[in-house]
Subunit: 183 residues, 2 copies
């Protein structure tokens, strides 16, 4: 008796009945993998004049500096997700002050919601996905080692917002789509 | 020779190696269905003193009134998604004025980004998923036939925002999680 062929998972691209876009469908069981953009939540959190940053221990951009941020989980609010990411990545306890920015990175189907926050204490330490954490003064930020364009945008939007009692959440800088330049 | 058993799709809940949460995994091919919260994008769009609303032709809440809104698609920005939904559901051309609100509905793992918008013309018509469209004055809105709590929140936040030249995006009203009361 021949062995069963291996099942293939959602690997065939076709338009399901009643839909208007191609989706990945499993040719064996018919499961339709409705992929949607993912939500990233994070924060720019400060202690006095210093900003919490995290040095990545995982790819992509391992060794580069970022903000505590990550994927929103099921049944989690964006606010709770931003607080959780600061705890996981920097063992930091933060209090959110409000939404700082909504960035769209359509190339990788990400919507990033970044909050402005205060650290409850300066006690921070690297989590499992971090090499190192730091509380940087603005003039100490290692700009040439910043992991992603949207981290740079968020730092600037945060810095601008400090001058105003009531700030307005920002979006991508004009013309910027978040693509990382090659080479 | 017995027929192959039917393939089962991602139906088994277990924690994949290197992960810390249970995911649905296909017992036949090992495909892991990483489910994430979904982003809904929409708008409160006005023509002079009137607000664009859409009467739903699909479940849930068929026959009830809502705002043009729907799931963000892959490789789409939230702004482009809000414009597309107005075109699809109300054949409306809109221009966004800015972010009106970010609502979290964790029970159903939704993050809703609602924009304030202007109609480019009052020419609107029901799309495939709508029974009817209307341009309602504030005092004409059929509040007892509004489809979802977050539609009511968005209408009120929109109305409040009109009084201010610079408004701040709002979140869920205090204590509200978007759960629809039973009975």
């Amino acid at each position: 008796m021949p062995a069963d062929p291996p099942a293939r998972g959602p690997t065939v691209r076709r338009i399901p009945e009643g839909d208007d876009r191609a989706r990945l469908v499993c040719p064996d069981c018919g499961f339709i993998n409705y992929e949607n953009p993912k939500v990233v939540v994070g924060s720019v959190a400060r202690w006095e004049e210093r900003i919490l940053m995290v040095r990545r221990a995982i790819e992509p951009r391992s060794g580069f500096w970022t903000l505590p941020a990550g994927y929103l989980e099921l049944h989690e609010t964006t606010e709770a997700g931003a607080v959780r990411e600061a705890a996981e990545e920097a063992e930091a306890e933060i209090e959110l002050e409000g939404l700082l920015a909504v960035y769209n990175i359509p190339r990788i189907s990400q919507v990033q919601l970044i909050y402005r926050a205060r650290l409850v204490s300066p006690k921070v330490a690297p989590g499992a996905e971090a090499h190192e954490v730091a509380l940087y003064r603005w003039e100490e930020i290692p700009w040439n080692l910043v992991a992603f364009p949207s981290v740079r945008w968020a730092l600037h939007h945060f810095h601008d917002s400090l001058a105003q009692p009531h700030w307005t959440p920002q979006t991508n800088p004009p013309g910027e789509t978040g693509a990382i330049a090659s080479g």
